[in-house]
C-alpha cells in the first residue's frame, strides 16, 4: 500500500542491517582470511604469515577432530532419540491426565532455564567417584563405586545422560504442543470403533504426530551437535579423546593452543558444512512449495 512511509520503513531496518554487516558478516569474512595464515601476536600486534591451504590440509590428520566428529555423531543420535522418546511419553501422559498435569509441566521445564555450565557443575558433583551421590547409593547397597567421568568406558555415556536430562524438556514442550493440537474427533472415532488404547496410539495418534516428531528430532539434533558447556565442565574432552566433541576441538585448537590460523580453518569448515545444509534445506523447501 502506498501509505507505507518509506523513510520509517528503511530507518526501522537499518540497525539490524548494520549489525548483520559489521558484526556477523565481517567477522566471518575475516575468519576466512585468517584461515589461510599462520597467526602470532607480538606485543599486541597481529602478525600474519600466508600459508595457503596448509591449515585445511592439516584437518585431515587431526586426531582430535576425528574423535570429535565421531563422538558428536554418537551424542546427537543417542541423546536426541532418548529425548524424543521420553519427551513423547511425557507429552502423551500430560495430555491424557489433563488439567491435573499443569503443575508437573511447569516443573519439568526447569532444566531448560539453567546455564549449561551449572548443569555441568551439578552433575560433576553427583558423578564424583569419592563422594558423589551415585557411588554413595551403590556403596550403601554393598556394590562398589565407579569413576563415571574418569574412565573412558563410561565418560561419553555419562555426558549423554546429562544432555538427555538437560534437554529432554525441550522435546517434551514441542511434542506437548503437537499432542494438544491433535483433532479430538479422530481419537473418539477410534474409540467408538472399539480400538484398544495401544491400537489407537499406534494407528491414529503416532502417524498424526510424525511431522512434529521429525521437527523435534531435527531441532534437538542441531542443538546437540553444538554441545560444549557440559563437556567443558564435566570432562574437558577426556579421558584421552573419549568425550572430545567438535566444538571443544575448535576451542582447544584456537584458544587453548592459541593456533588461530588452524582454529579458523576448522571454524570455516564447519560454517561451510552448515551452509551446504542450509542450501539443501532451502531448495528442498522450494521444490516442495512448487509441487503443492
Amino acid at each position: 500500500m502506498a501509505h507505507h512511509n518509506s523513510l520509517g520503513k528503511v530507518l526501522s531496518l537499518t540497525p539490524a542491517v548494520l549489525i548483520f554487516a559489521v558484526l556477523a558478516l565481517l567477522p566471518v569474512i575475516n575468519l576466512f582470511i585468517v584461515s589461510f595464515h599462520e597467526v602470532s601476536w607480538l606485543g599486541g600486534a597481529k602478525q600474519m604469515e600466508w600459508v595457503g591451504v596448509d591449515n585445511y590440509i592439516a584437518i585431515g590428520d587431526d586426531p582430535l577432530f576425528k574423535a570429535g566428529v565421531f563422538n558428536t555423531i554418537i551424542v546427537v543420535l543417542v541423546a536426541t532419540t532418548a529425548q524424543v522418546v521420553i519427551g513423547l511419553g511425557l507429552a502423551l501422559a500430560c495430555s491424557s491426565v489433563g488439567d491435573k498435569s499443569r503443575p508437573f509441566r511447569a516443573l519439568l521445564i526447569l532444566p531448560l532455564l539453567i546455564p549449561g555450565i551449572v548443569i555441568g557443575a551439578i552433575w560433576r558433583l553427583m558423578y564424583n567417584s569419592e563422594f558423589g551421590i551415585f557411588n554413595l547409593i551403590l556403596e550403601s547397597i554393598g556394590l562398589s563405586g565407579h569413576d563415571w567421568l574418569g574412565s573412558s568406558s563410561t565418560a561419553l555415556a555419562a555426558v549423554i545422560v546429562v544432555d538427555v536430562w538437560h534437554w529432554m524438556p525441550f522435546a517434551f514442550l514441542l511434542l506437548l504442543a503437537a499432542v494438544e493440537s491433535l483433532p479430538r474427533d479422530v481419537s473418539e472415532a477410534a474409540k467408538i470403533d472399539g480400538a484398544t488404547a495401544w491400537q489407537e496410539f499406534r494407528k491414529v495418534t503416532l502417524p498424526l504426530l510424525y511431522p512434529a516428531i521429525f521437527m523435534t528430532f531435527l531441532f534437538r539434533a542441531v542443538m546437540a551437535s553444538k554441545i560444549f558447556d557440559e563437556v567443558f565442565l564435566l570432562t574437558a574432552g577426556g579421558p584421552g579423546t573419549s568425550t572430545e566433541v567438535v566444538s571443544f576441538t575448535i576451542f582447544q585448537r584456537y584458544f587453548l593452543q592459541d593456533n588461530a590460523g588452524y582454529g579458523s580453518a576448522l571454524s570455516v569448515s564447519i560454517i561451510f558444512v552448515v551452509s551446504v545444509i542450509i542450501v539443501i534445506a532451502l531448495n528442498a523447501n522450494k521444490s516442495k512449495g512448487m509441487s503443492q
Binding site: A16, P27, V28, S96, V118, R124, F248, V274
Partner: protein, 280 residues
C-alpha cells in the same frame, strides 16, 4: 460411562500421574542435591554425610570473601544481559515490523532468514573465534562492549524469528484504519503495533534474557577476570587444582535465581516463546 470403565480409566490415570511424578522427581533431584551441597562444609561433603548442620559459610565466602570475584561476575552478567537483551528487543521489534509488515524485495527477507538459520546451526565457539580476532584487533577484547555486541549479534536473528509469528497475528485492518485516520508512522507504531505486540515482546525478551544469561563459550572467549560473567565464574571453580565443591554449589544456586524468577512469573511466556520458534 459404566462403573467398570470409569474404574479402569482412573487406574490408568493414576499410573500416568505416577509416571509424571517420577519424571518430576528425576528433574528436581539434582537441584535438591546441589542446594543441599551448598549448605554443607567441604569436609561434610567429602565424607558423604547424609545428616549435616546447614551452614551459610559457602554463600558468605562466594559473595563476600575478598578473594572471590563472584559478586562482580554477577553484576557483569546483569549488565551484559540486560543491555544486550533490551537493545535486541528494540532493534528486532523495528526490524521485524519493517520486514514482516512492509514490502521488501524477497532477497532482503531471505538474508535475515538465512542469517537466523545459520546462527542457529553454527556452533557458537566458531563465532567466538571470529569475534575474538576482531575484538583483539581493535583492542576491545576483555571489554563489556565486545561481549554485549556479540550477544546482540547472537540473539538478534533468534528474536526476529520468534517475533515473526507474533507479527503475523496482528490484523492489518487495524494499521490501515490508523492510516486512514491520519496517524503518522511513529503514532502507528506507538499506539497500535507496540501494544498489540506486548505479549510477543515479553515472550521473546524473557527467552533472550535467559539465553544471554546462560551463554558460555562467547563470554569465555571475550572476557577476563574483571569482565567475566556468571557461567565463566562457575567454570573457573571447576578448573582449580583443589576444587571448592561446596562453593561451586553455592555459586551455582545463586546463578539459578533469574531462572527461578522467570519460572515463577513468566512461565507462560517461556512456553509460548519456546514453542513459537519451532512450531509454526
Amino acid at each position: 460411562m459404566s462403573h467398570a470403565v470409569s474404574k479402569r480409566y482412573n487406574r490408568t490415570t493414576n499410573y500416568l500421574i505416577g509416571f509424571l511424578v517420577l519424571a518430576v522427581f528425576t528433574t528436581l533431584a539434582p537441584f535438591v542435591y546441589i542446594a543441599m551441597s551448598s549448605f554443607k562444609t567441604q569436609i561434610s561433603l567429602l565424607m558423604g554425610d547424609v545428616k549435616f548442620t546447614p551452614t551459610l559459610m559457602n554463600y558468605n565466602e562466594v559473595l563476600f570473601d575478598r578473594t572471590s570475584d563472584y559478586l562482580r561476575n554477577f553484576t557483569n552478567s546483569v549488565v551484559v544481559t540486560s543491555i544486550s537483551t533490551s537493545l535486541v528487543i528494540v532493534i528486532a521489534f523495528f526490524a521485524g515490523y519493517s520486514l514482516f509488515r512492509m514490502r521488501w524485495p524477497t532477497y532482503v527477507v531471505n538474508i535475515f532468514l538465512i542469517w537466523s538459520m545459520a546462527f542457529n546451526l553454527i556452533p557458537s565457539v566458531t563465532l567466538a573465534s571470529a569475534w575474538y580476532d576482531l575484538a583483539r584487533s581493535v583492542g576491545l577484547n576483555n571489554d563489556y562492549i565486545a561481549l554485549i555486541l556479540a550477544h546482540m549479534t547472537l540473539h538478534l536473528p533468534m528474536a526476529l524469528w520468534l517475533l515473526a509469528s507474533f507479527f503475523r497475528e496482528i490484523p492489518r485492518e487495524l494499521e490501515d484504519a490508523a492510516y486512514v485516520d491520519g496517524a503518522s508512522f511513529v503514532t502507528l507504531v506507538r499506539r497500535v503495533v507496540a501494544p498489540l505486540m506486548m505479549p510477543g515482546l515479553m515472550a521473546t525478551g524473557i527467552l533472550i534474557f535467559v539465553f544471554s544469561w546462560n551463554e558460555f563459550p562467547v563470554a569465555l572467549a571475550l572476557t577476563n577476570n574483571d569482565t567475566g560473567t556468571v557461567p565463566v565464574a562457575i567454570a573457573k571453580y571447576a578448573q582449580e587444582e583443589e576444587i571448592k565443591y561446596t562453593q561451586m554449589a553455592a555459586a551455582s544456586v545463586l546463578s539459578a535465581v533469574p531462572a527461578l524468577l522467570v519460572l515463577l512469573f513468566g512461565q507462560r511466556f517461556i512456553v509460548r516463546g519456546l514453542t513459537a520458534g519451532a512450531v509454526k
